[in-house]
Structure formats: C-alpha cells, structure tokens
C-alpha cells in the first residue's frame, strides 16, 4: 500500500476531510493535534447520538448545555475548594490547637495577649473544628456529589451502550494501520470483531456508505475507578461522622500499684460522642503492676528512650478473671472493641508527711510531670491537716531521677532513668484552700494563704535556694515543730489513652477502596479501536485499523499495530471457523 502511504506523508489533507483542518495549521503542538483528532472523533462518534451515552445524556440542547455548564463549574469550583482546603489547614499546623495540646494554647495566650483573643475569635485554635473549615470541606463534598452522581449515571449508561460508529476517515486518527487483502470484507470484519472481543474490547459491527466497520472500546474500569475513589471519600467522611457521634476517648494516669475502672469519674479527661452516654462505657478495669523504661546510655542519641513496657492486669468485666498484659507504644490492649494505648509516662515520688505530733497527714505517691528529656519533673505535695483550722503543710518543687549537683548551678537531672533520685522542695505551711469552691491543679500549690518555711540546711547545695534536698530514705524535719517529710521511694506512672471509634470499620474499607479506585483511575487507559474495510478500484479490499485514546497520552499505537498485523496474517492464512483467535 505504498501509494496510500505516500499520499498521507507530509500531512496532505485527505479528500473527505472535515472542514476545520488543524493538521495544516503550523505550530500546533502534538497535544493539540491529538485533542483535535479526539474532538473530531467525538463529533463523528456522537453523530448517531443515541449510540453514545458516555458524554451526553440525551436531554436535548438545553439540557445538554445545562449539563455542560454544571460539569465545568463543579470541576472549577472543586479546584478552588481544594486550594482553599489546603490553605485553611496551614494555620492548624502552625498555631497551637486545643484538640492537640490545650496547654500550648494557654501558653500562647500568655505570650500574645493582644493577638490571642482575635485568633480565638477566628477559631484559629480550633481550625479543624471551626465552621469555616467545615464549610470548605462541606462544599467540597457537595461539589463532589454533584459531579459524581451524574457521572456515575452517565458511566453506567456508557457501559451498557455500544461503542460509537467508526469515523469515516480513519487516517485522521493518531494511529492508523492498513493493508490490502483479497479476502471478503465480511470475513475480515468478523475476524476483527472476534479478536477485539478476545482482548476484552467491547465490540460492535456496523455498515455505512463507505463499507463495513468494527468499533470497539476498552478501559471502562478507568472511570469506574475514578468514581469508586470519589465515592470512597464520601465513605470516609461518613466513617468519621460515625466515630464522632458514637465514639469516645479518654485519658487516664495510673501510678504503679494502682488501678483504673471504666467509669466516668475515674477518667482524667473524657470526651463522649453526642450519642454516647456514661452508661455506654464498658465496665473493664485494670491495674498497673509495673512500668519499665530503658534509655540509650551513650552516643549522640544519649537518653533517647528505647523501650517502654506497662505491665498491667486487666478484667474485661468486674466478674471476669484478671489477665496480664504488656502494653507498649505500638501494641495497645484491646478489651471488647475499646483500645487502651500507652501514651506517656513519668515519676511519682512516694512521700510521707507528718505533723508536729507525729500523725501521718499524707502517705503515698505524688504525680510529678516530666518537663524535659531528662525528666526533671515538677509537682506539688499537699498534706491537709484534716482538722478544722489546723495547719496544712504543702511542698512544691522538683523530682530529679538522676540528680547531679555541681557547685554554682541548680541541681538537675542528667539521665531519664531513676538512678539517683532526689526531691528538691520548697515547704509551706498555712491553708491549702482545698475546701474552697474552685478546682485546684494537683501539680501546683495555691500559696495565697500559706507561708514559706525556712528550710535551708547547711548540707544542701547553695544554689538550690530555700529548699529541702531529699534522697530516698531521708527525712527532713520542718522548723517550728511543724512536722516532717520523708522521701520513701519512687514509683512510675503511665498515661493511657482509652478510645472507642466504631467509625473505623467504615473508614478503613473506604480508604482501601479509595486507593484501589485511584490506581484504576490513574493507571488504566481508555481507548477505542476501529476497523474499516473498503472496496478498492483494483478489486482488493483496504483494511484499516485505527485507534484513539480517551486518556491523555495513551495512544494505543502498539495495540493498533498488533491488531493490524495479526489480522493481516490471519486473512492470508485463514484460520478455520471456530478456532481460537
């Protein structure tokens, strides 16, 4: 078919060309040409409009316009909303957030007294719960639904519809292969249809003035994947909502040797979903038997933690048998669908406080909060007198797990493990105001009605100031026969997060489907292949195969070439009817 070839070389327009001739225009990029070819093919393909339900539901001209408008706008709006969503998320990562760490928000308030209230009014400390953030993703999902629902319907119809009729001039398509044969047109077309069907193309045959044709299409899974992905996003959103309404999360701090039972009062903090009541909390309980931590002891990652183990015994219900479990950071304990996670840890020095008469006012572990990587921990010890108008005793200061005392500097911890524990405490007497109306922090003293005692001892390091220094086993006597304090020992505490999120059962499968849909949507190609047989003047038949990608840059060159080659080979040595193609 060399003369046929020569004709086309140099992009000479074919005789039956369509009016616009983009091929002749200079400086057209390949993309534009391909797009133009695609457009032409689309035009041709939609000529018998009922045949093609892919792009246009048959709604008439007005309906079509409206549909086009909606398509365009929703995509643009979606784009704008995507940008807005990403911009809106930025302050949530830069400013402290109440949902992540409320104490940081408080600190921010103290250091930015002028700006903080304004930022708060803009809900910039609760970005991800704010109405404006919600509005953006709400609109985005409305836009998504508005786009996806009609597209799903169109896609459903497209999958049921036949591929469009073959364009008249197949040479105009991005890839085209041809050969001549003496075989009958019907035989060639039958074979072509069979081959294409065998390669899972959706195939249809037809005839027009120019001759018979086969039209085929493949790659519907691309759009299926696209739709699946977007629908899965809705699934994720629903799952998040379920978790919000039906889930709960709480935090609890447990010291070695003490326990926790799942009732509202035993939580340090608890957030119940709007549809969850206190009676819905499961009635499990557990005791922290021992907490152990190991740390790097040398090198440039000195003091980095290496292992955390919280050894607990738990009961899934009050009547159940206790079972032992080792809770680690990445291995939570699961009790009837509720998960218990190890979140943090610290030290609880055990102290005994006596009054001047020798009565024990307080005896037990006191939770101190670690402030840095060496666990310099701050806290307060409160020993109320327990008698009316009695003298309360209070202490506040530091617990150092591995104290190092150098002259001229504040004693400080130099390692996170309790290798040389020490308490450094200021002592107070007076009224702790513990019976007052307001809630007190357990980590600090209200010293308004208290008087600091002069406890400076000769042995204590000068830099510690007016404070007691106690090692394990040591007792300090307070002045004026007010009493004494003994550093009995060291316990550790662990903080557990307790979470129940039924929405996960929806979120995870949706997420998996979203990834699968995305792979299909971005990895598969949708393309059409046409075969056309025309009678030639010399009595032979010209067989043309041409292809068009409906996906950018996916011209099915190899497929068209192979189809033409195998077809040419087959019609020269015809296979018996019924043999596998």
């Amino acid at each position: 078919m060399s003369e046929q070839t020569q004709d086309t070389v140099g992009t000479a327009p074919a005789a039956d060309a369509d009016p616009p001739e983009p091929v002749e225009q200079e400086r057209l990029t390949e993309d534009a040409v391909e797009a133009a070819a695609a457009e032409r093919a689309e035009k041709l393909s939609t000529a018998p409009r009922t045949d093609d339900g892919i792009a246009v539901p048959s709604l008439g001209a007005l309906g079509m316009l409206r549909w086009t408008w909606r398509q365009l706008t929703s995509m643009r709006i979606a784009l704008v909303l995507l940008f807005m969503l990403s911009l809106a998320a930025i302050p949530g990562s830069i400013l402290p957030q109440n949902s992540i760490d409320p104490s940081k928000v408080t600190t921010f308030y103290q250091s930015h007294t002028k700006w903080a209230p304004i930022l708060n009014d803009l809900r910039l400390f609760d970005v991800f719960e704010s109405p404006w953030f919600g509005a953006i993703y709400g609109l985005l999902f409305i836009s998504l639904i508005g786009c996806i629902v009609p597209r799903s319907w169109a896609h459903f119809k497209a999958m049921r519809a036949n591929p469009p009729a073959a364009p008249r001039n197949l040479k105009r398509l991005p890839v085209h292969a041809s050969f001549s044969t003496t075989a009958e047109a019907d035989e060639v077309l039958k074979l072509a249809a069979k081959r294409l069907r065998g390669r899972r193309f959706k195939t249809v045959r037809g005839e027009d003035r120019a001759g018979g044709w086969v039209s085929s299409e493949k790659g519907f899974l691309r759009e299926t994947g696209n739709l699946l992905f977007h629908l899965s996003l809705i699934g994720i959103l629903i799952g998040i909502a379920i978790g919000h309404f039906l889930g709960y999360k709480g935090a609890v701090l447990v010291t070695e040797g003490t326990g926790f039972s799942d009732t509202v009062t035993s939580y340090d903090s608890l957030t119940l979903g709007p549809w969850v009541g206190a009676q819905d909390l499961p009635d499990f309980s557990f005791t922290l038997n021992k907490f152990s931590a190991t740390y790097q002891e040398s090198g440039d990652q000195f003091a980095q933690p290496r292992t955390f183990d919280a050894y607990v015994s738990f009961k899934s219900s009050p009547s159940a048998k206790a079972r032992n479990e080792d809770v680690q950071v990445n291995s939570p304990m699961t009790i009837n669908g509720t998960n218990v996670f190890l979140e943090g840890h610290g030290y609880s020095p055990v102290v005994e406080v006596k009054n001047g008469k020798g009565d024990v006012l307080f005896d037990g572990p006191v939770t101190f909060l670690g402030q840095d990587e060496y666990f310099d921990s701050s806290g307060a010890i409160k020993a109320p007198s327990n008698v009316k108008n009695g003298t309360d005793l209070g202490f506040q200061g530091w617990f150092l797990p591995t104290a190092y005392i150098s002259s001229g500097a504040m004693p400080a911890s130099i390692f996170p493990a309790a290798q040389n524990p020490m308490l450094i405490l200021s002592a107070y007497s007076g009224n702790l105001n513990m019976n007052g109306g307001e809630d007190q922090s357990v980590y600090s003293l209200d010293t308004t009605d208290m008087k600091q005692l002069n406890v400076k001892s000769k042995s204590a390091s000068a830099s510690a100031g007016n404070a007691l220094e106690l090692k394990v086993g040591q007792t300090a006597t307070l002045p004026n026969e007010l009493g004494s304090i003994t550093f009995v020992g060291v316990k550790q505490w662990a903080q557990f997060n307790i979470a129940y999120d039924p929405g996960q059962k929806v979120v995870l499968p949706s997420a998996v489907l979203a990834v699968l849909g995305l792979i299909g949507s971005l990895g598969l190609r949708r393309r059409r292949i046409w075969v056309r047989v025309t009678e030639q003047a010399d009595g032979t038949r010209l067989v043309e195969v041409a292809g068009l990608a409906r996906t950018e840059g996916a011209t099915p060159t190899a497929e068209v070439t192979q189809t033409a080659q195998s077809l040419a080979a087959a019609v020269r040595q015809p296979v018996p009817d019924g043999a596998p193609a």
């Binding site: 140099g10 200079e26 950071v329 990445n330 995870l508 997420a511 950018e552 080659q565």
Partner: protein, 349 residues
C-alpha cells in the same frame, strides 16, 4: 541487639564515596550540556516509533513543533501511520557533539558508581542497626535520594532517553545527600519505642519512594516551564540548550505520568500512616503537623490532577500547581521536622 559499629562505619564511608561519585557525575553532566551547546541540534533525527525494523518513509523537518506523520512497514504488508510521536524522537543533550557524548557517557557511568556506593551505604546502615535504614531525618534523606537516582537509572536501563534528567537529578541527589551528611547526620542507633512497629517498613518506605518520585516530577515540571517559555520565544540565549531538551509536551507528559503513577502511593503512605497512628496513638487522624502537611501535599497534588483535566488550567497553570505541591513536600519534610513540634519528631530529627 547492639549496633554493629563496623557496619555503621562502612556505611558512612560509602555515603562519602557516593557523594564523590555523584559530584563527578554532576560535573560531567555539566560538561555534556556545555559541549553539546556548541553543536546545533541537527535536522535529522533517527528513530521512529513502533515497529522494530521500521523504515522511515517520510517526515517533516525535525523541529518538534510541527506535527509529524510517520509511516512504517509493520510487517505482513501492514503500513502503520503514527501521528504525534514527538516524544519518541527526542534530541539528546549531547546533540551530535562527540566530546559531549563521551562526557555524557562518563557521567552515566559515574552516576552508576555513585549509586552503587549510595546503595551500599544505605544497606550497611540497615545492617548496622538491624532495621530499615530510614528511621530518622539523616537516614530518610539518604533513602529518598537513593530512590530518586534509582528511578532515573531504571529509566536509563530501560533505554528511555532520559539523559537530560541526569544533570538535575544528580544535582538534587548531591544536594540532599550533602545536607544529610553534613547537617542531619546522626549515629546509627536503635529505635525509639514509637517506631517499634512493622508499619515503619510500610509507611516510611512508601513515603520515601513518593518523595523521591515527586522530586523527579518536579525536575520535569521546571524544565517544562522553561522549555515552553523558550518555545514561545523566550530565553533565546539558551536556544541551543533548549533545542536539545525534549519538547515541552513530552516534558509535561513525563511530569504528569510520574505524578499520576506516584499519587496513589502517596495516598497509600498517608493511609498506612493513619493505620499506624491508630495503633500507636489511639486515633487514626489527629491533625498532627506532619499529618496536616501530608494532607496539604495530597490535596495540592489532587488539585494538580484536577487542573490538568480542566480547561484554562491545563499546561502552565497546572505546572505551577505541581511546583507548589512540591514546595509543600519540602516544607513537610524540612519545615515540619525542624520548626513545628508534633508527634513525628524522633531521635536526631
């Protein structure tokens, strides 16, 4: 398990040697670009697309802007016509300059050598610490740079004409590895408890590969913007250099394909991270700064994919979106790790 100090030492040595290899490659690529400039890219471009022993029957002058129709004998008397095959007949950076070609080949060789040391460095780091070698910022940087040069070399081995990527890729790898080696270095050590999970292998591996691939896509995007500016008549001083780059269409397509290929993996990386977060922290999503910025990166790349399918956003506008997206990737890595505090801060950054 204790750290194998010898292996850790070898690892550092190999990374240093990799730096030397990449530096040699980088300078050689520079030479290729420089020498290639002295030869105008000629009119005849060999190689036509589809069939193996294709006979080129006709083609217009080589300027890629003009549409070409190629006819090839496809065997069995089949004639195949292909339009728009510009990306398969790209010029080369060396042009037809012999010196440039020799230096370019040396550059490829040096890249392979640098890569071999690089891979050995990462491997020995893992052997030294008995774990995946991407658990802190130093290791993550080394691994992401490795993923990037690996992607480039795979394309080369597959005989794709991507030597034009050599200069920017080795440049970025050199920069990343250099920053890692000098600023981010930390000794090979065991993991903090938060990382004691097989999700480290899944989540971080996906993130490493995605980061490297987004880097490659960014190289193609930047070159696309420069090339299309040149095609529109800008940057005339560098005409001879731009002539030897692939067409803007091909560059844009390369960027798109890489992003389209890697976006599902990035999605997976975030989701794997969410599954891990659920297991470690009791919630699958908590707007931790790293989570927030990963989400931002995801949304901006999603915007890029939508932009390419939207009239008026195709081409340059979409390319700028891709650049913004990569800026977010960089901030998510350097900015979030060093400036913001969150749950993703681990030993040695």
């Amino acid at each position: 398990m204790s750290i194998n100090e010898n292996f850790a030492h070898y690892s550092n040595l190999f990374i240093a040697l990799a730096l030397v290899g990449y530096a040699a490659a980088f300078f050689a690529y520079c030479g290729e670009w420089a020498f290639g400039t002295s030869s105008r890219f000629g009119k005849s471009v060999e190689k036509v697309g589809t069939a193996a022993e294709g006979v080129k029957l006709g083609k217009q002058a080589a300027a890629p802007k003009v549409e070409a129709v190629n006819a090839v004998d496809g065997g069995n008397g089949v004639t195949v016509l292909t339009r728009a095959v510009a990306e398969e007949e790209e010029p080369t950076i060396a042009g037809d300059n012999l010196r440039a070609e020799i230096v370019g080949r040396f550059a490829v060789m040096a890249t392979f050598i640098g890569f071999a040391f690089h891979a050995a460095g990462v491997l020995f780091r893992g052997l030294a610490a008995h774990r995946v070698p991407w658990a802190n910022m130093y290791e993550f940087s080394c691994a992401a740079a490795l993923a990037m040069s690996f992607a480039y070399l795979v394309l080369l081995v597959l005989r794709k004409k991507v030597r034009w990527m050599g200069l920017p890729v080795t440049g970025i790898v050199l920069l990343t590895l250099g920053i890692a080696y000098t600023l981010l270095y930390t000794d090979a050590e065991e993991l903090v408890p938060a990382l004691h999970s097989y999700w480290l292998y899944i989540h971080v591996t996906a993130a490493v590969i995605s980061t490297g691939a987004f880097g490659v896509a960014t190289v193609a995007t930047i070159l696309y913007l420069l090339k299309s500016a040149n095609e529109e008549g800008g940057l005339r001083r560098f005409n001879s250099t731009f002539d030897r780059l692939p067409s803007s269409v091909a560059l844009d397509r390369t960027a798109y394909r890489v992003i389209a290929f890697i976006f599902p993996l990035w999605t997976f990386a975030i989701m794997a991270g969410a599954v891990w977060a659920e297991k470690a922290w009791g919630r699958y999503w908590g707007w931790d700064p790293k989570e927030t910025w990963s989400f931002i990166v995801w949304v901006v790349y999603a915007a890029y994919l939508h932009a390419r399918a939207t009239h008026g956003w195709k081409g340059k506008a979409a390319a700028y979106v891709a650049l913004i997206a990569f800026a977010c990737v960089l901030f998510n890595y350097f900015g979030v790790n060093t400036l913001l505090t969150g749950k993703h801060s681990y030993a040695g950054l």
